[in-house]
Symmetry: C2
Subunit: 318 residues, 2 copies
């Protein structure tokens, strides 16, 4: 039998990561492409996906008729059964069926789901949560993403909007979140939350090597990694605070689900290494009911930046 391939994409607000999987589920080719942010129409983003897939086909040398399926994770609320993007915060799609035009273009099935959901699915099928039944995923990035595997299935709730526990309120008097609420997990523990904290400390006259990196937005994970290596005290505080609230939120989620495992992933966790997990673990016993704590594990995502790509692969029906 001739080899067949699957193309998987991680579609972000600023980049698309594309790979080719062979039938042994090995990544045999990779491509990364910047996207223009803002102002793009649906057609342009759709065109971008088409271009990336075409480039992957050309550059990898595989034949177009050897492509079994294309699958992607993207930010936003996505009906993964129909391929309709209901809403996406960073992409200009509203109630847009992205499935049909891509399938028409390439003549093979196209799957799409919410990026963090797909990432947790990747960890469940191929990574840190493999073999477990109930999984809570927490992905730390610019925002704070969540994904749930319950009784062995991705749980998406009513209209595919579940797992928004980045907006769990942990302190009603806490810092303002982008969502308009105060004291959400995201406001403490995401890149945005940590950046705001560092910016505030710098504005009070404190020194930090991250001052420039947070001046007009969020830091890059590598900058945080370096600052922690240097022992930058403002950066250390920001991470301590982020991990404290991640531990509280983890306790709340553990008490709510009695899951088998909590998996922490995303760009920050991947870049900074085990510091986050160690800090969270040093506190989390306080916030879990003791009898529930006994039967839950806490793990770092195993697939790193490839969680979403493997999750996309797992969505392909055959």
């Amino acid at each position: 039998m001739a080899e067949s391939y699957n193309i998987c994409l991680d579609i972000g607000g600023t980049k698309v990561l594309g790979v080719v999987f062979n039938s042994k589920k090995e990544i045999v080719f990779r491509l990364k492409k910047k996207t223009k942010s803002g102002g793009d129409s649906s057609d342009n983003i759709e065109q971008l996906i088409i271009n990336v897939v075409k480039e992957l086909i050309d550059a990898s040398g595989i034949k177009a008729d050897k492509i079994n399926a294309i699958s992607a994770g993207a930010p936003g609320v996505i009906n993964q059964e129909t391929g309709v993007v209901l809403f996406s915060p960073n992409l200009p799609w509203r109630n847009y069926n992205i499935k049909k035009p891509i399938e028409k273009e390439f003549g093979c099935p196209f799957y799409i789901g919410n990026d963090v959901n797909v990432g947790v699915l990747g960890e469940y099928k191929y990574g840190a949560a493999k073999g477990y039944k109930n999984v809570v995923g927490l992905f730390v990035g610019t925002g704070m993403g969540g994904g749930l595997i319950l009784n062995g299935e991705l749980f998406t709730g009513n209209k595919f909007k579940a797992a928004e526990y980045g907006h769990m309120i942990l302190d009603p008097e806490g810092p303002l979140c982008n969502c308009g609420q105060r004291g959400c997990l995201e406001a403490f523990s995401s890149k945005q939350g940590m950046s705001a904290y560092i910016r505030q400390q710098v504005s009070r006259g404190r020194k930090s090597s991250m001052a420039e990196a947070v001046e007009n937005g969020v830091f890059k994970s590598k900058v945080l990694k370096n600052a922690l290596a240097e022992g930058d005290s403002v950066a250390v505080e920001a991470v301590d605070r982020a991990c404290h609230y991640l531990a509280v939120a983890s306790g709340n989620l553990v008490n709510t689900f009695s899951p088998d495992v909590v998996v922490y992933g995303g760009g920050v966790i991947e870049a900074v290494g085990d510091i986050f997990l160690e800090k969270i673990l040093s506190e989390v016993d306080r916030y879990c009911m003791p009898s529930i704590r006994e039967t839950v594990e806490f793990k770092k995502a195993a697939l790193g930046d490839d969680s979403i790509l493997y999750g996309a692969l797992s969505m392909i029906k055959k």
Copy 2:
């Protein structure tokens, strides 16, 4: 075909409520019996259940051979598949198989599950949550109980310990909870939490008609109802505070599950009427993600004190 009956029990720390259902799922007989609290051995509680069932049979006049099954809800962590009570806070059972002795005594199947889980199941099968797929139940009593119906099934997590969101931390600097943690939902919004607040205000010299009722423990729901009717300002404050944190917790749970409906039940909600739901509803929009808020409803339990009994009925396999 001759009529057959099901006997259902709501086993509490201080009372057992027992009823007889006919095959039309109507309650044809009721019995309430006080239990001695503390110090009882497993045998004695087991004997109490046996006595209640025998009394129900005798007093209702149904014949023992017409009993199809017996089913019960009880506090604690219960493996509802095997009938093993793993842990019960108010009953002296640890890893005790209650199923076998009851089945042996009466020669019919016996089912048992966690009381709040069973109560939410009752609301799902016969009450306020009938026809929905994803249900979050919040039961306000001495403590704060939770129950989850996800994708149409009771969700119990690892080792039947899920839905302990009564111990969701909403303010890390909040009042001490019985569980040893600070600022749990239960510490604000349960009878215990409200009683502690009223006790504290009375100790500061404020007048309240509930002073005596909370002096050595928790108030009875009727006492709160009367105090609210009188406009007792300390009681009103305690309820406002309870509802504020119930609204925050409801928002967190709505964002986590994107459920179809949130159902509020338990003795306090039942006795006090619609005040709780109105107060919660007046605040809850603030704490839900707007897009998720659009597709969720908030309801008062419809079966009142009988939620657990109807839930127990629904656990009977045929």
